[in-house]
């Protein structure tokens, strides 16, 4: 299968756009531009979630993918002009060192500095440098100079360029969850010409990485009958991991969740997705980790509750400046969701 160049270009724009939790507007504007052509109504709520509705009679289905990414926030400016920062979402301290970042809306270039190896004590070399000892260098020579360019509270995001590599793989930042956003868009695109007996809500959520917050308010507002979550999820299929510790494998198809820290996937929905994948000859796998969590935690507990399941694109090295996923997994995830939604619209899901 060959992914259309247009889709890859869209993936590049989504991946490279900065979208730290709480400031998702650039990502939202790309998505809005794309989704407006595909649905009946589009609106943003007070938190910034983007809700795309395809009106129809039938079950109310909410499909969520989050727009935000893990990032950094400037917390203090030192008198030497260096910026202290805090993490926004779960980032491993070990991946921060020496990375380049863009600070603030004007994408001011910066680098996360560290003492060079020549100047380190032998003991220092064996330790991970703590966040408190890291800083962002924006080339400013004094606090006064820095304050002209940045403010406390500005975000910093990784600068990774999106690229294709290997056979059908891509690498870039924020594939968690721009991959899910793209799957949602491509699903809505695939369904565009198909009449559906469904009230379908495609929801691009904010602030997932800091506590699935956008999903909480959108699920309350929509009150769906059924929820689906699209994610870029953990994968550790690299050497040194036992097969039972791998969680997911890149290239083996979309991963259907069974349980994570926030949700036990509805068994009926899991069986339904498996049957749908098998009927349509779509390879799939289970997400075999039971840790982590996603927007499903909020959706299934909103109001009186809604059966919820997750479909994920396996991504290596997530929550770091660069992650890797397979274009084929992404297409298969969209095909699986498309087939599942059609089947639900035809009354093929008994709950």
């Amino acid at each position: 299968m060959v992914t259309p160049a247009k889709t890859i270009e869209l993936f590049r724009r989504l991946s490279e756009a900065p979208g730290p939790s709480g400031q998702e507007d650039e990502v939202r504007s790309i998505l809005r531009g794309e989704v407006e052509k595909l649905v009946d109504e589009v609106h943003s709520d007070t938190m910034g979630d983007l809700i795309a509705r395809r009106k129809g009679r039938g079950k109310k289905v909410m499909v969520a993918a989050h727009m935000d990414e893990v990032a950094l926030m400037i917390s203090h400016i030192e008198k030497e002009g260096l910026l202290r920062f805090r993490k926004v979402g779960g980032i491993d301290d070990r991946v921060l060192l020496t990375k380049t970042v863009h600070v603030g809306r004007d994408r001011l270039p910066g680098v996360i500095g560290a003492k060079p190896i020549h100047l380190q004590e032998p003991r220092e070399r064996e330790q991970v440098i703590k966040l408190d000892n890291l800083f962002i260098d924006i080339g400013a020579r004094s606090r006064e100079e820095a304050e002209k360019l940045v403010k406390v509270g500005d975000y910093a995001v990784f600068t990774t360029r999106f690229e294709r590599f290997g056979s059908g793989l891509v690498k870039g930042k924020a594939l968690d969850d721009r991959a899910g956003c793209l799957v949602l868009l491509e699903t809505l695109r695939a369904l565009q010409q198909t009449p559906l007996k469904l009230d379908l809500y495609g929801v691009f959520t904010v602030q997932e990485e800091i506590g699935t917050r956008g999903a909480a308010v959108t699920a309350y507002d929509i009150a769906p009958d059924i929820g689906f979550v699209l994610e870029g999820t953990v994968c550790s299929d690299t050497p040194g991991t036992d097969p039972h510790g791998q969680s997911t494998v890149v290239g083996a198809g979309p991963a259907i969740s069974i349980m994570d820290a926030g949700t036990i996937a509805d068994r009926r929905l899991v069986d339904f997705l498996v049957a749908t994948a098998e009927e349509n000859g779509i390879p799939y796998q289970f997400r075999r980790a039971t840790t982590g969590g996603n927007d499903g935690a909020r959706i299934h507990l909103a109001r009186e509750g809604a059966p919820t399941a997750s479909i994920s694109v396996p991504c290596r090295y997530i929550h770091s400046p660069v992650s890797v996923c397979s274009l084929e997994d992404l297409e298969r995830a969209a095909r699986l969701l498309t087939a599942a939604l059609k089947k639900i619209a035809e009354g093929g899901l008994k709950l």
């Binding site: 009958d225 069974i258 996937a265 289970f286 980790a289 009186e304």
Partner: protein, 333 residues
């Protein structure tokens, strides 16, 4: 009531797989209530209505149907199953234990060879269901399937031991109270909740739907009466425990008073409970919508979350009387 308890504790039902236990409870409680329904997450809501024009309160009583367990995450070439835990299951307790799946398949939990006992972690354990290889294992189970402890009830003479007393004993107390409750001025919603063990999840959505005036959870609590155990005032045989506080809830003072008053007036053995770590469905109920005055009736239980949870039959009966006494009253809050 012992037969009811035996039926409930021995039924399969880890969090997220409550179909069988829900069916068992429906059979037992159905004849004594006016309405039964199952909500989107699988909670069973049984309603016993007030006599017409009685103008009482809407009382939600919650006991959770689910039990802790394990879920298969991987099947290896030789047919061994790796798993994750559902709720507070410790690897020490699992070692050598037998577990049962929804279809009755039994497995035993084995461990990789460990250099040190302290290396024992869930990741080191696996389930052996007697399969010769992956294909044979996958005929009866697979990734995402759940299992619970495989244990029967034993009557130790006044004290009962089984898996899943947490919280089938609470469900039994609710069913028995419904059986004995002839008339109530209140609309009583007996909610048998799902997924309590993974975060009070069923109580949250069912409380939103029921929108009660008063919430009461019926659940187990720890005791301080075992050798060099927890320092805690609750003991087995000391009667129904009226919760004052745990990590999910400070009991509403009026609800606590109501419970105490009923216990005193009717001569029901009771004790007060302050639990340092742990929570019940009341933790979710009391924060629903605009807030719901809530409390908990606790059944003192030893060895919680092991396959051998012990309760005192006298305490259980005291809890039934206390719950029934509350439901019969005209409640002022």
């Amino acid at each position: 009531m012992k037969e009811l308890i035996k039926k409930l504790v021995e039924t399969y039902g880890p969090s997220g797989s409550e179909e069988q236990i829900r069916q068992a409870i429906m059979e037992e409680v159905g004849p004594f209530v006016d309405d039964l329904r199952v909500d989107p997450l699988g909670n069973l809501i049984a309603v016993k209505r007030a006599a017409k024009g009685d103008g009482g309160k809407k009382i939600m009583v919650a006991g959770h149907m689910d039990e802790i367990g394990v879920m298969v995450t991987h099947v290896d070439e030789k047919g061994f199953l790796r798993f994750g835990v559902i709720g507070g299951v410790s690897p020490q307790v699992l070692l050598g234990e037998r577990v049962v799946f929804a279809d009755g398949t039994v497995g035993v939990i084995g461990s990789e060879r460990l250099d040190e006992p302290k290396d024992l972690r869930v990741e080191k354990l696996f389930i052996d269901i007697g399969a010769k290889d992956k294909a044979q294992a996958e005929k009866v189970t697979g990734i995402g399937r759940s299992a619970g402890y495989y244990r029967k009830l034993d009557d130790l003479g006044g004290r009962l031991v089984s898996k899943a007393m947490d919280d089938r004993i609470g469900c039994a107390v609710m069913i028995q109270a419904a059986r004995e409750l002839k008339k109530s001025p209140n609309d009583v919603y007996l909610v048998f909740t799902v997924q309590e063990e993974v975060g009070l999840r069923g109580a949250r959505t069912s409380a939103f739907a029921v929108d009660p005036d008063l919430g009461i959870a019926v659940d187990v609590t720890r005791t301080g009466d075992t050798p060099k155990g927890l320092t805690m005032a609750v003991e087995l045989g000391g009667g129904a425990a009226i919760k004052v506080k745990d990590s999910s809830l400070v009991a509403h003072p009026k609800v606590k008073e109501l419970m105490t008053e009923v216990a005193r007036a009717e001569g029901i053995p009771h004790q007060f409970e302050v639990l340092e770590a742990g929570g019940t469905d009341a933790g979710a109920i009391h924060l629903t919508r605009e807030g719901v005055p809530s409390g908990t009736i606790s059944i003192p239980t030893r060895y919680i979350h092991t396959p051998s949870e012990v309760v005192d039959y006298g305490d259980v009966q005291a809890c039934v009387r206390l719950l029934k006494g509350i439901l019969e009253r005209r409640v002022e809050l």
